[in-house]
């Protein structure tokens, strides 16, 4: 005789292993969206609290990672709305970088400004995908879940964005070389 036990919700250990462990993957995106590292840790805890309350639903979801990423993004957007802050395209959420020793301050600042300009010219979806992949280091499945698009579509958007960035930088470089 055998018994089948149907588990309706995940326990603490399962939650830690399957859901909470994604905190590390969420962190760069949440940080960028909220523009502050201290807020990001707090936000991740709140997101996890929401997911803990809904652990029954989360446990049944066919794609837990997708569910967690989407919840996180929605939480950040709601938070920005509550604070009456604009929900910008990804490029304007990037930090202004300081120069390092390898770069001349002015040259580095110019370069940064150029890259921001190139990014801002990209269509919004391409911008978001490029930044989620190259800066937040997200997997394709995670990006697809957050943007509610298919992985193949994400690859196409990403490829277009990367090619465009390469092309624009190439043009600037070749003009510079010609100028020199």
């Amino acid at each position: 005789m055998s018994f089948f036990v149907i588990k309706s919700s995940m326990n603490k250990d399962e939650f830690r292993h399957k859901v909470f462990s994604l905190s590390e993957r969420l962190y760069p995106m949440v940080c960028r969206l909220l523009g502050n590292t201290a807020n990001a840790e707090d936000a991740i805890q709140e997101i996890m609290m929401k997911l803990w309350v809904r652990r029954k639903q989360v446990g049944k979801h066919p794609n837990i990672t997708a569910y967690v990423f989407l919840t996180a993004r929605n939480y950040c957007i709601d938070l920005l709305k509550k604070k009456n802050l604009p929900i910008d395209a990804a490029a304007s959420q990037l930090r202004l970088l300081e120069s390092d020793n390898r770069h001349d301050e002015l040259e580095w600042r110019e370069l940064n400004a150029l890259i921001y300009k190139i990014l801002e010219k990209l269509p919004r979806q391409q911008q978001d995908v490029l930044i989620m992949r190259d800066i937040d280091g997200c997997e394709f499945a995670e990006i697809a879940a957050t943007m509610q698009l298919k992985v193949e579509h994400i690859r196409v958007l990403l490829s277009r964005a990367r090619k465009q960035v390469g092309l624009e930088l190439e043009t600037i470089y070749s003009n510079e070389r010609r100028g020199n």
Binding site: P28, L111, L169
Partner: protein
Amino acid sequence: MKEEEIENLIEKYKAGTSTLDEEQFLLEHTKDSESAMGVWFEFAKKQKREVAEGFSDTLWQSFQNRKAKRRRLWIGAMSVAATVLLLIAFLIDVPKPQELSYHQKEALLAQALDLLADAEEAKSEENIIYENELIIIYTSWE
């Protein structure tokens, strides 16, 4: 890794088919002076947010504390609510039946007396002269 291999990897990168590990390799091994793409890699590398080692574990501890604190708060709030409800239940006055004022009582009594007076009057209108088991003889004003 040879230059040619890096070139191939960049092609893969542009096609959107490279893995995260391959992209990490590119970010670390392409110098910005070498190619236009290198400038982007340099920028992306600097924009990346480092996640501290053991981030999830540290956060898990504070998550547990937060959960416990929230549970205590919840229990506290519920007990306060229960106490308040109990107090309200005791304090609420059960409405007593409305009492009549002295004047209203007086008026009611007068009304009742009036009715009685009518009845007596009606009775007195029939003036019995003789009465036995078979017959009643009376006078009336009608």
